[in-house]
């Protein structure tokens, strides 16, 4: 099957049967209101992220305006889709990317996505305007806005993605951009630690979620959200539902700071305040909530969902609210309050009722408005008074009346006071709590929620009274006053929304119901409940009253309560987290350093033993089949060659301390291997092996020139025995595996028949090996010559580094260990190499030209020509040869890679894929008919790259050698009878 596919693909390539592109998608979605603007909405922030950095030098105002316009364009693009949305359509935009993997760039806009996207972009606008005045002149505003836009794009991507794999990518992008934003003030250790903690926690959650989403995709058979959302029954009945649910909830809970992952959010407050307001109250922390709402139709309603989500939400509500009450930092108070409110929303989603979902959506809206306004107010206070410590504040209402008004109104909404929007959704929350049973008691949840609401009122009142009321003080770090309107207008706008929704909740009702319908999907009806301030004297109102009265009482008792709180020992999340991280690092380090303590020998031994152990495991657990091939008879010559190989290897091991002898033996072994290649029908391999052997030996000789000539005996007999044992076992394994393979047919038929059949028809050559190299698998070869070129450049660079460092002096001052030959460039050798050179070059060209049809080709020709050139270096020395070297070897390598690449690109102009070859036959006068194939251009590139790479490496080595000797003869030979001056070569 695989073979057929492969064959079809290649036949298509070679027989030019059109392209393998399918233009799918546009037709399918024609009836769904396909929208380009949706792409623009998602892409705009990413593209626009380049803008602030470019505009920053033009001034802060331009930079902020540029950023603002990017967000505004995205928002307009979004709003332009609203008419379709209101008409009941779902707007989609789709590009098939990797359909085989189920990974497509698919976006869709439904009321829920539109609601969140509007929140993200709308509050984004306010934050950008606010940030313009918040950042000081020493902050790099361009960098800040770039990160902010990256975040914005990622966030919009999450809420608009239809493909869950894409959603995951955007999800992780929000973690990354939030990391950059929290750590924006790099000089603050808190910022760096907070950023790291946020990334670790949310990143880990994201990883868990990837697992959950993949399971979900497997169950539903598609990675498209729209499809998954329609498969509620299949998913809930699946055995994998629970693992998928837990993994996805891990992602949501970490992102939305639910217990027990709530601890990162307060530490993320080290970020600049616009970031806190944007990411950590209005948008990013809502991503988890968003996903729970998005997945609500398929995941909710089960026992597990109810207990996990409602439970985590309830704990978080109370925990966040209580801690918040005892914090002194304004932003910490708001952070824990955010944790608490997120818990509230989570709990509402957890109940699994339509009313709960509606309340959650309403509270998301309300929380985003009042909390962002509060964060911005806290930022103003910090900006003006230079402190956020509530103990050092108080009485600010006289000094900054505007800010005080804004903050007070927003905080009253947070406390749940009537006529503010927080009140309306809190009433609905308490209503829902009264209808939720936990531990078979209808009062349990309501009691917990009331405690949460009570503390919520308490910290809100404390925020108001301890910051703005009381006597004006004289010891503020800086004299506070109301800031530039640019800073207070954004929160003022939000507070207007707070008041409008608070006093006329029916205005928000269509929106909330519209979005709720999208959350519910077709699982439930939207409740008929009307959003209103007054629902009569009902239990929620009593609970609200208790909460507000209790809140006031708590604020009055704050001082003694605070002393009690400070005296109570509590687990400190940060130190636990740091300890956990340190523990992980310790374990990882023990394992890594236990295996790899810096000793290569030890590591190599462990590696070998591990490989042998793996092989042994496979051997003892696998099933061996009977041999299916007969052994071929061995001739006497073959046995003799085998005996020579064994003997040479044996001698090599025995005599490896004599390094020169070892080199000679390696040469012999290499020769035997190339003979074996020739014998077993691989002439190309034999030729390659033998020419590589020559250059390798030359290279090793050059190196040995500097290295000690003998290896001393150092290791103990026991250790040699141990190494010998490892070697023997490894060798036995390799030999046995090979033997096993050789006497059996392949499990699946090899794809080589295809190559043999199409080599001439499709590639125009009869040497199948060469056609495979330059045509069938040309892309591999292209990569390989690049690797070879890089290796040569690495050698060159390392040599350069050596020659510039302290090694140079050592090389220059070094005295040879053995006396040098009196005649370094002997006459006979020089003459011989000069005679051989044209012969070798001709052979090289011949081998190159015939390569497509007979054994040969660019690789071998390159090596042969390299050997011809190396001989000249050996005979007449580096200086002489270099003087005659016209083109630098790097250039030759580069030219080779370029020619090969351009030949491949050439195929584009005739409408074929990269590296498709074409060929024709021409007849030149005096010569036989011969073939011109574009593959030949490619082979020329291979030839040049191999030649250049080999020569560049050898030249680098001989440069080291050249510096070692002080004199360099520019003559071809030392003793030249035709030359008068005979002294120059002596030294």
């Amino acid at each position: 099957m695989a073979k057929e596919d492969f064959a079809q693909q290649n036949v298509a390539r070679h027989l030019r049967v059109g392209r393998n592109f399918r233009t799918k998608g546009s037709n399918d979605n024609a009836n769904l209101g396909w929208s380009l603007s949706l792409f623009i909405v998602v892409l705009m922030p990413f593209l626009g992220a380049l803008l602030p950095g470019v505009l920053y030098p033009a001034g802060r105002r331009t930079c902020a305006l540029g950023t603002l316009s990017v967000t505004l364009i995205a928002l307009i693009g979004l709003i332009s889709n609203f008419p379709a949305l209101l008409a009941g359509e779902t707007v989609t935009a789709r590009i098939e990317w990797m359909p085989a993997l189920g990974l497509n760039a698919t976006f869709f806009l439904d009321p829920l996505g539109a609601f969140f996207a509007t929140l993200i972009l709308g509050i984004g606008l306010l934050i950008i305007a606010y940030g313009r005045y918040y950042l000081s002149s020493s902050d790099n505003m361009g960098e800040f806005y770039t990160y902010l836009l990256l975040f914005q794009g990622a966030m919009v991507g999450i809420v608009l993605s239809d493909n869950i794999l894409m959603l995951l990518v955007f999800w992780e992008l929000t973690s990354l951009s939030s990391f950059l934003l929290i750590g924006y003030w790099r000089h603050l250790a808190e910022g760096r630690q907070g950023a790291r903690m946020a990334l670790t926690v949310t990143g880990m959650g994201g990883l868990a979620m990837i697992g959950g989403m993949l399971i979900l995709g497997q169950i539903a058979g598609s990675y498209d959200l729209t499809v998954i959302l329609e498969n509620r029954d299949a998913i809930q009945e699946s055995d994998l539902y629970l693992p998928a649910l837990i993994l996805i909830l891990l992602g949501c809970f970490t992102k939305s700071a639910q217990f027990p992952f709530h601890f990162w959010l307060p530490h993320a407050m080290a970020a600049p305040t616009p970031v806190s307001a944007y990411l950590h109250s209005a948008t990013m922390v809502k991503a988890g909530i968003f996903l729970m709402a998005r997945m609500w139709p398929v995941l909710s309603g089960s026992e597990a969902w109810f207990w996990l989500v409602t439970g985590a939400g309830l704990i978080t509500v109370v925990l966040g609210a209580v801690i918040s009450f005892f914090k002194h930092d304004l932003k910490a108070i708001l952070a824990f309050s955010t944790v608490s409110h997120l818990g509230l929303i989570t709990m509402l989603l957890g109940t699994g009722t339509a009313f709960g979902a509606m309340t959650a959506i309403f509270h998301i809206l309300n929380h985003a408005t009042f909390k962002a306004a509060l964060f911005m107010s806290a930022g103003i206070v910090d900006h003006e008074a230079h402190t956020r410590d509530i103990r050092r504040l108080g009485g600010l209402r006289h000094l900054m009346p505007v800010t005080a008004t804004i903050a007070t109104l927003a905080a009253l909404s947070m406390a749940g006071i009537p006529l503010f929007n927080g009140f309306v959704s809190k009433e609905m929350w308490l209503e829902e709590a009264l209808h939720t049973e936990f531990f078979a008691s209808p009062y349990f949840v309501a009691a917990i929620c009331t405690i949460g609401a009570l503390f919520s009122a308490a910290y809100s009142f404390r925020f108001i009274f301890h910051t703005f009321f009381g006597d004006t003080r004289r010891d503020y770090p800086s004299h506070p006053h109301d800031p530039n309107p640019g800073m207070w207008l954004p929160p003022a706008f939000l507070v207007c929304l707070v008041l409008i929704i608070g006093m006329a909740p029916f205005l928000a009702e269509p929106l909330v119901k519209f979005v709720t319908a999208a959350v519910l999907g077709n699982t439930a009806e939207v409740p008929t409940y009307h959003l209103a301030i007054w629902h009569g004297f009902k239990p929620p109102l009593y609970l609200s009253g208790i909460a507000v009265a209790g809140g006031i009482l708590l604020v009055l008792l704050h001082a003694p309560l605070q002393r009690l709180w400070d005296a109570t020992p509590r687990p400190e999340a940060k130190s636990i987290f740091e300890g956990l991280i340190a523990g992980c690092v310790w374990v990882a380090r023990r394992i890594t350093c236990g295996l790899h303590d810096g000793s290569f020998t030890r590591f190599a031994a462990i590696l070998m033993v591990a490989i042998v152990a793996g092989g042994a495991h496979a051997y003892f657990t696998g099933n061996a089949t009977a041999a299916t091939r007969d052994m071929q008879p061995a001739s006497v010559v073959a046995i003799a060659t085998w005996a020579m190989l064994i003997a040479a290897t044996g001698f090599l091991v025995a005599a490896h301390r004599k390094r020169l002898a070892a080199l000679i033996l390696i040469g012999i072994i290499g020769l035997i291997v190339s003979v074996a290649f020739a014998f077993f029908s691989a002439p190309d391999l034999a030729m390659t092996q033998i020419s590589v052997e020559v250059v390798t030996i030359v290279l090793m000789l050059l190196a040995l020139n500097f290295l000690p000539k003998e290896t001393p005996v150092e290791s103990s007999a026991l250790r040699r025995l141990r190494d010998g044992a490892i070697g023997c076992v490894g060798g036995l394994g390799a030999g046995a595996l090979c033997y096993y393979l050789l006497v059996r047919e392949s499990v699946a038929p090899p794809i080589s028949d295809y190559h043999l059949e199409n080599s001439y028809a499709g590639g125009g050559g009869t040497n199948v090996v060469n056609v495979i190299l330059v045509d069938f698998r040309g892309f591999d070869t292209f990569g390989e010559i690049i690797v070879l070129g890089i290796a040569a450049l690495v050698i060159y660079a390392l040599t350069e580094a050596l020659l510039r460092g302290p090694v140079r002096a050592r090389l220059l001052n070094r005295t040879p260990e053995s006396p040098l030959a009196g005649d370094r460039h002997p006459l006979m050798m020089v003459v011989l190499t000069r005679v051989i050179m044209p012969v070798l070059l001709m052979i090289g060209i011949y081998i190159f030209l015939r390569g497509h049809n007979l054994p040969g080709g660019g690789f071998i020709a390159g090596l042969v020509v390299a050997v011809a050139v190396v001989q000249q270096y050996m005979a007449s020395g580096y200086a002489w040869a270099t003087q005659r070297q016209r083109y630098p070897y790097h250039g030759i390598v580069g030219a080779g890679v370029l020619i090969a690449g351009l030949t491949g690109i050439g195929a584009w102009f005739t409408g074929y894929e990269f590296l498709t070859s074409s060929f024709t036959y021409i007849k030149l006068p005096l010569l036989d008919e011969f073939e011109v194939a574009s593959a030949m251009g490619f082979d020329l590139g291979v030839f040049l790259a191999v030649l250049g790479a080999v020569m560049l490496s050898l030249e680098s080595f001989s440069r080291l050698a050249r510096r070692a000797h002080t004199t360099d003869s520019l003559h071809a030979m030392d003793i030249d009878p035709s030359r008068d001056d005979q002294t120059e070569g002596d030294h």
């Binding site: 000793s599 090599l652 014998f679 030999g735 090899p750």
Partner: protein
């Protein structure tokens, strides 16, 4: 014949492993060269052994498997590049410290401790 090739590969591997585990750079380089031979021949042999039928298209009925040959051909050339890089690194280390040991010599250094003290 198959036995000869398999045992040849086994012997080359055994010698290669033994030499790679030596303490000086030169035998290690020689050892990797031996392992390279062994691996190349092994890969080549995965196309099974065929005598007298090179993959040059003629009227013949039977050809050796060309694909492993093509793969091994580039492997041979690349292994030259690899050997050259390893040799230059070994040479640089030797010239820089006048010591051609593979492992660091000044006492047994506990890497973990070194890392911890660096913090």
């Amino acid at each position: 014949m198959e036995f000869l090739v398999a045992s040849g590969i086994g012997v080359l591997t055994a010698a290669g492993i033994y030499l790679v585990l030596r303490l000086r750079t030169f035998p290690v380089i020689v050892g990797t060269a031996l392992l390279t031979y062994a691996v190349n021949v092994f890969l080549f042999a995965s196309g099974r052994l065929t005598v007298g039928a090179p993959p040059i298209l003629t009227d013949a009925e039977r050809y050796a498997d060309p694909l492993p040959q093509a793969l091994v051909l580039t492997a041979i050339v690349i292994s030259f590049g690899m050997t050259a890089v390893v040799v230059v690194i070994a040479l640089g280390a030797y010239l820089g410290s006048d010591d051609d040991h593979v492992d660091e010599q000044e006492g047994a250094l506990d890497t973990a401790r070194k890392l911890e003290s660096a913090e």
